[in-house]
Amino acid sequence: MNTTAGDVTDVPVRKSITVRASVDRAFEVFTDRIDSWWPRSHHIGRSPMKRAIIESRVGGRCYTEQVDGTDCDWGSVLAWEPPRRFVIAWQITPTWQFQPDLAQSSEVEVQFTPVGNGSTRVDLEHRFFSRHGAGAAAMRAAIDDPNGWTGMLPLFAAKAEASQTVGSEA
């Protein structure tokens, strides 16, 4: 493991997955239907999350609707090229507020590539973590905090394994 500052700050997270679906459908489920798979505990609202939304245009908002009727913005669309690619800014501050300044936000790019047999490879890159500044440490600490995004992974894994059950968590 290399731990020099320059290397660590600029290494993006890259993930790929191949799905049995056309490029059009993969893009649509990822964006228009993001609510069908987005982890329910992954939001920055004060009340539980009701719905996840990505507005399908450059400049569109990425936000969640909360059960108390408020909206929580967490990003915006930087590039929109259906069905092959989109980029969103990840606009969350270390204290879990919306970050209006794009220069202090990281970016997520998702690309959809047909690989034959009606399948699509989805390549995701989350980059520019260093733009979150030193607040990144606090962000991580907040994630580990019982009041933060904690428990998301186990909760979500349970949800995924019981995918036939329709969401009635409360």
């Binding site: 731990t3 020099t4 500052a5 660590v8 700050t9 290494v11 997270v13 993930k15 997955i17 799905v19 049995r20 679906a21 459908r25 993969a26 489920v29 990822f30 239907r33 609510d35 069908s36 798979w37 987005w38 982890p39 992954h42 719905r51 270390p94 204290t95 989805v122 995701l124 989350h126 973590f129 260093s130 733009r131 979150h132 500044g133 030193a134 607040g135 990144a136 440490a137 606090a138 962000m139 991580r140 600490a141 907040a142 994630i143 580990d144 905090d145 998301m152 992974l153 979500f156 894994a157 949800k159 995924a160 995918s163 329709v166 969401g167």
Partner: protein
């Protein structure tokens, strides 16, 4: 763990300290350079740096007689680690949704 998180949030709660962190985003810097243009004394800057260091938001090293401060790289490494795990799980959820024969919206 919680105490470290608390000390970090507290460290970030001060606008001068946020300004210092902002400057350090451009790269490692000696105290003198960090203090330039700030409306507080150099000892006060050192005091703020101590708080940031205790909260593990910055690290320092000696360079001759000067001390050089920089953002703690571990901060980014651990955030990156978190997203690495998050996206791994999220993409599996996405795969299940996209391959499900009868995709539901909410309910």
């Amino acid at each position: 763990m919680t105490s470290r998180s608390d000390s970090q949030l507290e460290a970030l709660g001060d606008s001068t300290r946020r300004t210092i962190l902002e400057r350090l985003r451009k790269g490692p810097m000696p105290v003198g350079q960090l203090a330039r243009g700030l409306p507080i004394s150099r000892p006060a800057v050192s005091q703020h740096l101590r708080v940031l260091k205790d909260a593990q938001l910055v690290v320092d090293r000696a360079d001759g007689t000067r001390r050089i401060y920089e953002l703690n790289p571990a901060a980014f490494a651990s955030l990156r680690e978190y997203f690495d795990e998050f996206w791994g799980v999220a993409l599996i959820a996405f795969k299940q949704a996209v391959e499900s024969p009868n995709p539901r919206k909410e309910r």
